[in-house]
């Protein structure tokens, strides 16, 4: 497919890798990279970890050096948002003005859900952007003493662990009975919960936020079980929503993300990648939208190539999802796609020591591997998952560990 120009909307991880890939593969046409944040592409994982702890400077967040970015010769438009798309008319609306596009990469990611009734209340934060992280970091530095994290998800858990590391009192509330259960299942979710309690987090499950108290500034939270707690910093980690509003009426299928085919194509000459993309992963035979760093990179690469391929040349995007999360001195990694009621078996180390590898499986299939401070085992397991190993084959492999 010969294209003269490619426009990428969303100047973050997936968008950057799309641009980098096009140039690396020798594409010489114009590449426009349009992003509504004022910053050059930066990395989000450190925002809840080292950056929040104050251990990382702004310039170390960049996805690449200024020099390498310049080498890509992009038409880089920062602080600029796409406000509409007309697929049939081949036009994009940027900052209210229409412009034609040839190939288009949609990489607008997700944004955080907010807690109703907290708009405008100081001390209430979500964490998605560098500016969000700087605000929380400054609140911690300004002497916030009692932090509450709403929602036991991974980013909230990382904020909790960073705050504990700074001597802050932390409460985490989760509406479900099983913390982290949706991702890890009940059994392994309980192990994660134990790690947090071990470090002094007051983790309360099966309770929701009834009311956020405070006049202009958060002062406390009343929970659904009637308890009222003093809180001076409230972190809301109750999930994300894909940024697709600007695509309403564009002709694309929107359903919890931009729906694509198995090759990441959403419409002729239009691809989507990263947190915003929902596609049928042929490995699993189901539509999925993955919110992990590695997926944004791989899919950004795949989608960019797809734009320059004919339908015949196109290949399916079939990764085994994988992510890591750093909490306290533990590195948690999950490869694969566990179902909450899969069988779980610890295959190396021990959960009591918070250092182990566990396998998930169902119906004789090996579905996922979880590791806590076991990066080597998780990476090897990812290889087994990619090879389609059975439950028995995976267990036999793991029997050689330790």
């Amino acid at each position: 497919m010969v294209r003269s120009a490619v426009t990428i909307v969303g100047a973050s991880l997936a968008g950057y890798w799309a641009a980098e890939t096009l140039r690396r593969d020798g594409f010489e046409g114009r590449i426009s990279l349009i992003g509504d944040e004022p910053h050059a592409p930066y990395d989000r994982p450190p925002l809840s970890k080292k950056y929040l702890a104050g251990d990382l400077d702004d310039d170390r967040l960049a996805l690449t050096t200024a020099e390498k970015l310049a080498d890509l010769q992009l038409d880089l438009r920062l602080g600029c948002s796409a406000t509409g798309l007309d697929v049939a008319g081949r036009t994009l609306e940027v900052g209210g003005a229409a412009e034609p596009f040839d190939g288009l990469v949609i990489a607008t990611g997700t944004r955080c859900r907010t807690l109703p009734g907290t708009a405008g209340l100081a001390g209430v934060h979500t964490l998605r952007t560098r500016d969000d992280a700087a605000a929380i970091r400054d609140a911690l530095a300004d002497g916030a003493r009692r932090l509450m994290v709403v929602g036991a998800g991974f980013i909230g858990a990382e904020v909790a662990s960073t705050a504990i590391g700074r001597g802050v009192e932390v409460t985490m509330v989760e509406a479900l009975e099983a913390p982290f259960g949706r991702v890890l299942g009940v059994e392994m979710g309980a192990v994660m919960a134990d790690v947090h309690r071990h470090h002094g987090v007051d983790l309360r499950t099966g309770v929701g936020v009834e009311e956020v108290l405070g006049d202009g500034c958060v002062a406390g939270v009343r929970l659904s079980d009637g308890a009222t707690l003093d809180v001076d910093l409230l972190i809301v980690g109750i999930g994300v929503v894909p940024n697709t509003e600007w695509l309403e009426g564009s002709g694309l299928t929107l359903d919890n993300g931009v729906v694509c085919d198995g090759t990441c194509l959403a419409a002729p000459g239009v691809v989507a990648a990263g947190d915003v993309a929902r596609w049928p992963n042929p490995r699993y035979g189901e539509l999925m939208r993955v919110e992990h760093w590695d997926n944004a990179v791989q899919q950004g690469v795949h989608a960019a190539r797809r734009l320059l391929q004919s339908d015949e040349e196109a290949t399916p995007f079939a990764p085994v999802p994988w992510f890591w999360s750093d909490q306290y001195d533990r590195k948690v990694q999950l490869a694969g796609r566990p179902h909450p009621d899969d069988e779980v078996r610890v295959v190396a180390g021990s959960t009591a020591e918070h250092r182990f590898a566990a396998f998930y499986g169902r119906d004789g299939r090996f579905t996922a591997a979880l590791g806590m401070n076991r990066p080597r085992q998780v990476m090897q397991s990812k290889g087994l998952l990619e090879a389609g190993s059975s439950w028995d084959e995976a267990l036999a492999f793991a029997a050689e560990w330790d």
Partner: protein, 63 residues
């Protein structure tokens, strides 16, 4: 080609190991080890991919 890792930057998330397991290994002590400091020319493309993909830009190559 010589592989150099800036261990002050490395966060042991093992992305390099996923790409080139014969060159990089994150062990159970959570540290990254370079298994092959001077990989052969046939590994150049793979090692360069690890250099590119490392989220911390901790890996560099010297000829």
């Amino acid at each position: 080609m010589r592989v150099i890792v800036d261990f002050d930057l490395c966060e042991s998330n093992a992305i390099c190991m996923q790409i080139a397991p014969d060159v990089f290994e994150v062990r159970d002590d959570d540290f990254l080890y370079v298994l092959e400091e001077n990989p052969g020319e046939d590994r150049r493309a793979v090692v360069e991919q690890a250099v590119q993909r490392c989220p911390k830009q901790a890996i560099s190559l010297e000829d």
